[in-house]
């Protein structure tokens, strides 16, 4: 790396600073002596709006020493102060990049200059001037030669390589599990809450009362809502088979549109397209408590035989479940919002916790392709468990034995940049 040569520039600086080490009161060296070893380059792994300045640390720098960085977009002059910091700050190791993407250490200064802060939008390829001034007690005693550099947009975040590798491993395992599932069935443990769905729908059919299915207050980008639409598909298929009646009140119009499609499809698959009605799914309110009030009203008036609360729930969880419980409906809930789980536990007959909700679609449909995804989840958990277990041991040992750079490597490996 070309940055490394700056290390060799350390010597002249050391010599230049030598008189300062004497016991005499710090007399500034000849004013405007050149500051050596400064390099300017594009800041790596960014969108292309920053430059990176590096220069070796002056061993003579004490608490009085500071540096200023200047930047200019003009050919001559037009210098703007971009940074002003004590000599103990902005070391190479302070740049938050992992070891595989950055070689800066404590022996050099590294300053990232965000150009957009000073020049707003600029054309790609614009050349900027940079210089560094060294100060002691606020007085400048040395300055670097003006340097030129041009920022450019990079194409890969090398610092996120650890993340990318993990993703690739998960994708590979994912496809292996999928192809394995196609050949061979997979075992999946019993989930009581899902087995109870048949019972709930059967009860509704006997009583001739409707079933309420609340997909919660999430949007289509919430995973629990997506999982909820899968479950809705299976539930409404059974509802159609039993010729029962389902009502799905909605909080989000996009979720409603998706659910309409899902329910319609289920009725088709169950061979009952004639029973499907457009108003099975309907919008109630995009306001959390208006939604709760309205659904509570409907539940207490119509006294459904079964209520499903599957998806994303916040404070309305207990409002809905408690009212459902007082009407005597069988209630099955599922959410991944763990602080709402206690409310569902107390007021519902069955509750699916977090991942069980994700697994529900696969469990109910028994489709091998979907079930294989559960295996990938298990694999992910295994990786995390091993990483946590061994990571904790290795880090504790490393810290205890003062293997600082080793500890740093481990920490870098597991950090999200």
């Amino acid at each position: 790396m070309k940055y490394n040569r700056s290390i060799f520039m350390l010597l002249p600086l050391l010599l230049a600073a030598a008189p300062l080490n004497a016991a005499k009161p710090a007399a500034p060296k000849a004013p405007d002596a050149p500051l050596l070893g400064v390099t300017a380059a594009d800041m790596p792994y960014d969108v292309g709006n920053a430059l990176l300045l590096r220069w070796p640390v002056n061993p003579a720098d004490d608490a009085d020493a500071s540096y200023q960085v200047f930047v200019s977009s003009q050919e001559n002059g037009g210098w703007i102060k971009a940074a002003d910091f004590a000599a103990s700050a902005n070391k190479g190791k302070d740049i938050d990049l992992p070891f595989w993407a950055w070689n800066g250490g404590a022996a050099e200064h590294a300053v990232k200059v965000e150009l957009a802060d000073f020049f707003g939008e600029f054309k790609p390829g614009t050349v900027f001037g940079l210089k560094v001034a060294a100060l002691r007690k606020g007085k400048q005693y040395a300055e670097s030669e003006p340097l030129k550099a041009s920022p450019r947009g990079n194409w890969f975040r090398l610092d996120r390589l650890n993340n990318l590798l993990l993703l690739i491993v998960i994708v590979v395992v994912f496809f292996m599990a999928v192809s394995h599932a196609k050949r061979k069935g997979l075992f999946i443990r019993r989930i009581a809450g899902l087995d109870a769905i048949d019972e709930a729908i059967g009860r509704a059919t006997e009583m001739g009362k409707p079933i309420y299915y609340c997909p919660g207050i999430g949007t289509m980008s919430t995973i629990s809502t997506i999982a909820s639409t899968f479950i809705l598909g299976e539930v409404s298929k059974k509802v159609a088979q039993y010729d029962s009646y389902i009502k799905v009140p909605h909080y989000d119009p996009i979720v409603m549109t998706v659910c309409k499609e899902v329910v319609k499809q289920s009725y088709l698959e169950a061979g009952r397209p004639d029973s499907y009605r457009e108003d099975l799914n309907y919008f109630v309110s995009a306001d959390q408590f208006s939604y709760a009030a309205s659904v509570d009203g409907m539940i207490s008036r119509e006294k459904p035989a079964a209520c499903f609360f599957m998806g994303y729930f916040m404070a309305e969880s207990l409002l809905l479940a408690e009212v459902g419980a007082t009407t005597g409906a069988i209630q099955i809930a599922g959410t991944d919002i763990e602080h709402q789980l206690p409310f569902f536990f107390t007021a519902c007959d069955y509750t699916l916790i977090g991942e069980e909700l994700y697994a529900a679609g696969a469990y109910l449909s028994k489709e091998p392709m979907l079930m294989s995804a559960l295996k990938v989840q298990d694999f992910g958990k295994l990786v995390v468990m091993l990483a946590v277990f061994f990571g904790a041991i290795v880090l504790a040992a490393g810290t205890w034995l003062h293997w600082d750079s080793f500890v740093q490597v481990i920490l870098n490996l597991f950090k999200a940049y």
């Binding site: 965000e114 802060d117 707003g120 408590f289 994303y312 916040m314």
Partner: protein, 273 residues
């Protein structure tokens, strides 16, 4: 005896409702003035995080609560904004809950006047936006790409309060006060990604859920519920709505304790005696 206890065990819940109503109402009508003794570590951290910002720093407030959670969250927001104005910080306000706009209005009708702060110069309120995740991501590159005008239709770029503010890296802190999961998005999409210090205020019911974020420093501080508001008010020494609710809160909690104990004692008696 056991029959009576059994009956008591399955008491109509409306009696409990009535009891709670009495317990909550009484101190509102006739304040008892119970002391607000300790200050939680997380509230103090929130206070200190804001307190040590240099004068003139820009703090973005994301006030995302509607009237439902107003009794808990409005006193928090008012206290933190008071603190920000007192410290001469620049304040920007955004919201992703439509019902919040009126509540923000109510705060800013009153609070800036106390500190002689001027709209546009010392603070700016931006209009409601739907789809928070998209807006949060966008603000990382260009704040004005989303908020080109403030609430009154004035050009946002030319407001003195917005001088030098283009994206998160120009902001000293983001304060999110919410009863929704918008805080999770702030943590994941903004705090972690762009290294912006994040302080939050949440409802008491969702407060326990944010423990992990506090431990990792992803949240610099957390104000929880009305008690948190009262604590913050006592830290800035301006008692407000939060402090006045403490009596009811106290008695309400004690009632819950009493009820849980009663039901368990009854259970013991029925089972073993």
């Amino acid at each position: 005896m056991k029959e009576i206890l059994q009956k008591f065990f399955k008491i109509d819940r409306r009696w409990i409702f009535l009891l709670l109503a009495i317990v909550l109402f009484t101190p509102i009508i006739r304040p008892i003035g119970l002391p607000n003794k300790t200050i939680a570590r997380d509230t103090r951290n929130a206070y200190e995080a804001l307190d040590k910002l240099p004068k003139g720093s820009f703090v973005l407030f994301s006030l995302d609560y509607d009237p439902s959670t107003r009794p808990e969250l409005q006193p928090q927001a008012t206290a933190v904004i008071r603190h920000a104005f007192r410290r001469d910080l620049r304040v920007g306000v955004v919201t992703y809950i439509a019902g919040s706009t009126g509540l923000i209005q109510q705060i800013f009708e009153k609070v800036p006047g106390e500190f002689k702060k001027v709209n546009g110069t010392d603070y700016a309120i931006f209009p409601y936006m739907a789809n928070p995740t998209a807006v949060m991501t966008q603000m990382a590159s260009d704040f004005y790409g989303i908020y080109d005008k403030d609430q009154d239709g004035k050009d946002a770029r030319s407001l003195p309060v917005m001088k030098g503010i283009k994206s998160y890296k120009d902001m000293a802190m983001v304060v999110n006060i919410t009863g929704t999961s918008i805080l999770d998005s702030w943590v994941a999409l903004v705090g972690d990604k762009y290294n912006v210090p994040l302080v939050a205020g949440v409802t008491a019911i969702s407060q326990p859920g944010y423990g992990p974020y506090l431990q990792t420093g992803q949240l610099k501080g957390l104000i929880g519920g009305m008690k948190g508001a009262a604590e913050y008010e006592s830290l800035i020494q301006e008692p407000g709505k939060g402090t006045s609710g403490i009596d009811s809160l106290n008695l309400g909690h004690l009632l819950v304790l009493a009820l849980i104990l009663t039901s368990n004692i009854i259970l013991l008696v029925i089972r073993y005696l």
